[in-house]
Amino acid sequence: MTDPHASTVSIVLPTLGDAQRLRVSLPGALAAIESRGFDPDEILVVDDSGAERAATVVPEILAEIDSPRSNSVHVLTTSVNSGFAASVLLGAQKARGSLLFVLQDDVELGAGALGSLASAMKRDDVFAAGPRIELAAQVRPFASTAEPEAGAGRDADQYAAPEVRIVDDRLEVRELAADVPKGDVDPVPVTFVPATAVMLRRKSFVEQGGFDSLLAPFSWEDVDLGLSARRRGERVVRVPSAAVLHHAHLPSIWDHVPDGLARAVTERNRLLTRWKHLATRAEATEHLVSLWRGVLEAGLAGDRETLASVCLAFERLNEVTASRANMQGASRELSEVLGQ
């Protein structure tokens, strides 16, 4: 059965070929497209391991599932590990659906979530829609800057709703507690949707080059994507009635990144994102003053980590300039977008 008015969805599953993680995400994704019943819906598993692990693992899982939509699952591979953003872009480029649903391979898609998100995307001004993300177990450190932390300050009937704010001229992602909805509710405008599970308009996403490579190899891409859309005047929403379960405790890319480097890259990208979205001279001057102060204080305190992340950011100064130049239609200031 095909609804000619409905949008087709391509689920992009970037992975390093970890079977344990794929066993969490792939069955749910298959069930989702199976329940939607749209033949064009597809699942694109993008193997970024550089070792074509998914080519072996995915057929095994499909065999275990024995789904009639198994033929809708396609495995793409990158020749070398190129990072999350590049993998998603590859999947987006190969996808056929009008909607792109980026799903991390450790996220279990809830029943009806795909349909709810697709419904939210029916509004033309919605650039991205994200589900309610619930944690399956203890979150791992440094899983993502945009990742909700495990249950802190929330009741059982609440979930973490991350939002971006500027604190002391520094971008921060803060988790707000939101109530789990009873039944269908309207989408909620947000500043960004975590890349854990996000639905996008494929065409727009591909045209703007996917996640900004400025932030490669990881971290802050989703925040940048949301802020860019908001600055363009597009909507970014969260659909509380659509739920996913994040199995953040499973082995992840962070197991392949030394702690110090992970922190340095995260902090670097925080700065790069801030620099990218500095809209006015006054904002830039204030930020420079703030940054310099931070550098001086780090130097006095012997804070190598801060200095290292700042130095890493400075190494990409040229890329920042290029990225800023590529921002088309971003006429709104960040403070306006964030309501600050």
Binding site: L16, W292, L296, L317
Partner: protein, 886 residues
């Protein structure tokens, strides 16, 4: 290449302190292109413990800077522990990120530093210039300055034990206190027999062994080990169990001009000594030797200069005084020592040290300056000095040293040869630049060898970094290897670039002003800290107040405790005393119990006695009552007796009158009889009757004489009786129960009554006797009357009877009883005497004759007369005697 040079202290250059070598090698390394950072300790800088400060020092030759970071490790009273110091060094390593750590001295920090180096995978080198790997006492001398062999743990243990007990020994190696000095010698050298000493030595020995083991383990983790002399490398290799490679230290030749052979000496030979006044340096020996050499006859001219580093004031003053006496030029210095100048101004160096290692660097410096050396024959000096450039003497031998100084000064040729050899030797001197090159080569090799163990971050060895991370990981690793200074410099450059990229035209100064004005975490933290400090200050003030209050309370409490202790002591003494008393009481009680058992009988006896006494008292009371009755009776009797006496006196007077009358009568009768007899003689018929009358007359006369005697006796007795009666009445008056003389003393009253009663009894006896006598006299008178008299005499006798009956108031029954109780014979006699008058009175009662007709009859008169005479005589003889007896 970045190297961290670790040393005890970054001292000015002195040729006799191994730690000052870093002052030469650090700039040499900097000159050779190595980024050089010196890490050293400081004490008493005024900074908080573990504070670190970095300064930049410029190499005086090239102007290349190198960093010097000092770590405050606390004053002599003690500072942070070794772990805290090691942690501080770890922070230094994280900040400076050296590629290699080159340790020159570790004694100020401890072996923990090596662990920190190893934990970070940094290449490490240790170069020993002393015996620290084997001993904490790197001088290898005991506290009394006597030497010990390398590896002698026993000596080190004894040193620890001695200093722990006696405190730090003065630099002279002796205590002023003889007792402490003797104890020091005992602890260091004598066999220890006291158990406490043995146990403490064992403990010290264990600590020495533990320390050695810790060092051994730490040094095992060092990638390369070197020693500055062959001797040291050999000995440390043996002691530590790890190979120490010999690498000679270089000499900073930039300090010296090119040495030349001195011209032929024309003046005195100039010797110089460099060092401290420490006894191990041998300056005492040198002064002794110099004095001896100068005093010798024909001694060559010599000069001596002492270039001394002030160290111990007392010791320095002593040496200065000795040097002055000898005319030795003494120069004192603090800090940098102008070695080059001192050596340039001398002909030879004298190095008379008692201990060998430190002088090797000094000897090398002297050779580098082209100066020969007169040195103690210690292994280090022998190794450092070619025999052609030096003369050796026995360490500590002033005689040998004096002889050598004299010989060199007096033998110009020999001295010239020696000086020439020294100059030749100086041309092959190893400079610090040479040494730096050797080290750079070593650093490169060791860093290459250790590179695999170095990574980025803690988990680097465990993680297979994804290819997509390679670029950023590489950049990050580059940043990680930078020192803090370099990293900050790069960040600063980035800020400038960012400003340019943003097209901001603000000047750096303006931006900096805004930076300061903006505020940030540091200011927030400072504010928070200020608040916390304020709270802390207030808390401390409160604590101070509380502490002061507690001290006061404590003082009061201690006072109370002291009082209580005193009280307790008192109680204890009392308890003890009472315990003793109780013990005594128990003993006494036991004795008493035993005695009581015996006393019970006595008590019973006493009770019986008391009862008897009560009875006796009762009886006495009754007797007293009776006596009182008797007293009253006797008083009455006495009254009557007095009356009777008065009557008796009257009667006596009458009797005397009668006697006188009778005497006159008798004389008349005799006269008449005489006349009659004469007539009868004349008339023979009447002869027999006259004879009888004469006999009667004689009998009457004799009887009258007896009566007169009786009368005298009675008068005497009357007088006695009167006096006695007076006393009796006086006594009775005094002893009367209710009389004025009556006292409260019952015993006294009773005694007085007793005496009174006794007196009355005696008086009664006397009255009885008197009555008896009177009755006897009456009987005699009756008989005489019967025989001789009649008429008025008989009547008078009857009056005597009546008077006698009035006198006697004692009842007849009582008199009879007393007569029964009294002397039988006397009573019988008395009764006889009483009975006779009764008989006579009966006869008289029949009718007394008239005096004229009352002539005695011839019959029946003799026995009576005889008995009367006998009785009267007896009475006359007995009465005075009785009276006298009374």
């Amino acid at each position: 290449m970045r190297v961290a040079l670790v040393t005890r202290a970054f001292r000015p250059r002195t040729p006799f302190d191994p730690s000052s070598h870093v002052r030469s090698i650090a700039p040499a390394l900097a000159r050779s292109g190595v980024s050089t950072e010196v890490f050293c300790a400081t004490r008493g800088s005024g900074l908080a413990p573990l504070s670190q400060r970095r300064i930049e020092v410029l190499d005086h030759v090239s102007g290349v800077p190198f960093g010097v970071t000092t770590l405050e490790v606390g004053g002599p009273e003690g500072g942070p522990d070794a772990d805290a110091i090691a942690a501080a060094f770890g922070a230094y390593l994280d900040r400076e990120r050296p590629d290699v750590v080159h340790v020159e001295q570790l004694d100020a920090f401890g072996p923990g530093l090596v662990r920190e180096v190893r934990a970070r995978g940094i290449a490490s080198i240790y170069c020993a210039s002393d015996t620290w790997p084997a001993h904490d006492r790197t001088t290898q001398t005991l506290p009394d300055l006597s030497p010990f062999e390398l590896g002698d743990g026993e000596a080190e243990a004894r040193s620890i034990m001695a200093t722990e007990e006696l405190g730090e020994v003065p630099p002279s190696g002796r205590f002023d206190d003889a007792a402490r000095d003797a104890r020091l010698k005992e602890l260091l050298h004598d066999p220890l027999t006291a158990m406490d000493d043995v146990l403490r030595l064992r403990s010290a020995r264990e600590r020495v062994e533990h320390q050695r083991a810790t060092k051994r383990v730490a040094l095992s983790g060092v990638d390369r080990r070197f020693a500055t002399s062959r001797l040291l490398s050999k000995e440390l290799s043996a002691a530590v169990g790890r190979a120490f490679t010999f690498r000679a230290a270089g000499v900073d030749t930039s300090l010296f001009n090119a040495p030349t052979v001195p011209a032929e000496a024309s003046g005195p030979t100039r010797y110089v000594f460099l060092g401290t006044t420490a006894p191990t340096g041998g300056v005492d020996v040198l002064l002794d030797a110099f004095g001896e050499a100068r005093a010798a006859e024909g001694a060559p001219q010599m000069q001596l200069t002492l270039l001394l580093e002030a160290d111990d004031p007392a010791r320095d003053a002593e040496i200065a005084a000795r040097a002055d006496l000898l005319g030795v030029d003494t120069r004192w210095t603090r800090g940098a020592v102008d070695v080059a100048g001192a050596l340039a101004d001398c002909d030879a160096l004298v190095a008379p040290a008692l201990w060998g290692e430190t002088q090797t660097s000094l000897c090398r410096v002297a050779l580098a300056a082209g100066r020969p050396v007169v040195a103690s024959r210690t292994p280090g000096a022998v190794e450092a000095l070619p025999s052609s450039c030096a003369r050796f003497v026995t360490p500590g031998s002033a005689e040998e040293l004096a002889a050598e100084l004299t010989r060199l000064a007096g033998d110009g040729t020999a001295f010239a040869d020696l000086a020439r050899a020294a100059v030749d030797s100086s041309r092959s001197t190893k400079s610090t630049d040479d040494e730096a090159r050797e080290w750079l080569d070593t650093y490169t090799k060791v860093v290459e060898e250790t590179l695999p163990r170095r990574g980025v971050g803690r988990r680097s060895s465990e993680i297979e970094v994804l290819p997509g991370l390679h670029d950023v990981a590489k950049s990050f690793a580059t940043l990680e290897r930078m020192s803090m200074t370099e990293l900050f410099q790069r960040a600063q450059d980035g800020v400038t670039k960012l400003k340019k990229a943003f097209g901001l035209g603000d000047s750096t100064e303006d931006l900096l002003l805004r930076v300061i004005a903006r505020g940030g975490d540091a200011r927030d933290r400072a504010g928070q800290l200020a608040g916390l400090r304020q709270e802390l200050t207030e808390s401390l003030e409160n604590l101070e107040l509380t502490r002061a209050a507690m001290h006061r309370e404590e003082a009061e409490r201690q006072g109370r405790v002291a009082d209580l202790h005193g009280l307790l002591g008192q109680y204890e003494r009392e308890v003890q005393s009472r315990g003793e008393e109780t013990a005594r009481a128990v003993k006494e009680l036991r004795d008493h119990v035993s005695r009581t058992e015996g006393l019970e009988g006595q008590v019973e006896e006493l009770e019986e006695t008391a009862r008897a006494l009560d009875e006796k008292r009762r009886t006495a009371a009754e007797e007293l009552d009776a006596a009182t009755g008797r007293f009253e009776t006797l008083a009455k009797e006495a009254e009557r007796t007095r009356d009777a006496l008065a009557k008796a006196e009257d009667e006596r007077a009458t009797f005397e009158t009668t006697l006188s009358e009778r005497d006159a009568l008798v004389r008349a009768l005799r006269d008449r009889l005489g006349a009659e007899l004469a007539e009868a003689d004349d008339d023979g018929a009447a002869a027999p009757g006259l004879a009888a009358l004469e006999r009667d007359l004689e009998g009457i006369e004799a009887f009258c004489v007896a009566l007169e005697q009786d009368a005298r006796t009675l008068r005497t007795h009357d007088e006695w009786m009167r006096e006695e009666t007076g006393r009796i009445f006086q006594a009775l008056g005094a002893a009367a129960p209710d009389g004025a003389g009556g006292g409260s003393d019952e015993g006294g009253e009773r005694a007085a009554f007793e005496r009174g009663i006794a007196s009355l009894e005696a008086l009664r006896g006397e009255l009885d006797w008197r009555r008896t006598e009177m009755e006897a006299a009456r009987a005699a008178g009756s008989r005489l009357r019967t025989k001789v008299l009649a008429g008025p005499l008989v009547a008078r006798v009857k009056d005597w009877d009546r008077a006698a009956s009035r006198f006697s108031s004692v009842p007849d029954d009582r008199r009879a009883a007393e007569a029964r109780e009294g002397d039988g014979a006397a009573a019988a006699g008395a009764a006889d005497r009483v009975a006779a008058p009764d008989t006579g009175s009966v006869a008289v009662a029949e009718g007394p004759p008239e005096p004229d007709a009352a002539l005695p009859s011839q019959d029946g008169g003799e026995p009576a007369a005889g008995a009367s005479t006998e009785a009267a005589t007896g009475s006359a003889e007995a009465a005075p005697g009785d009276s006298t007896d009374r």
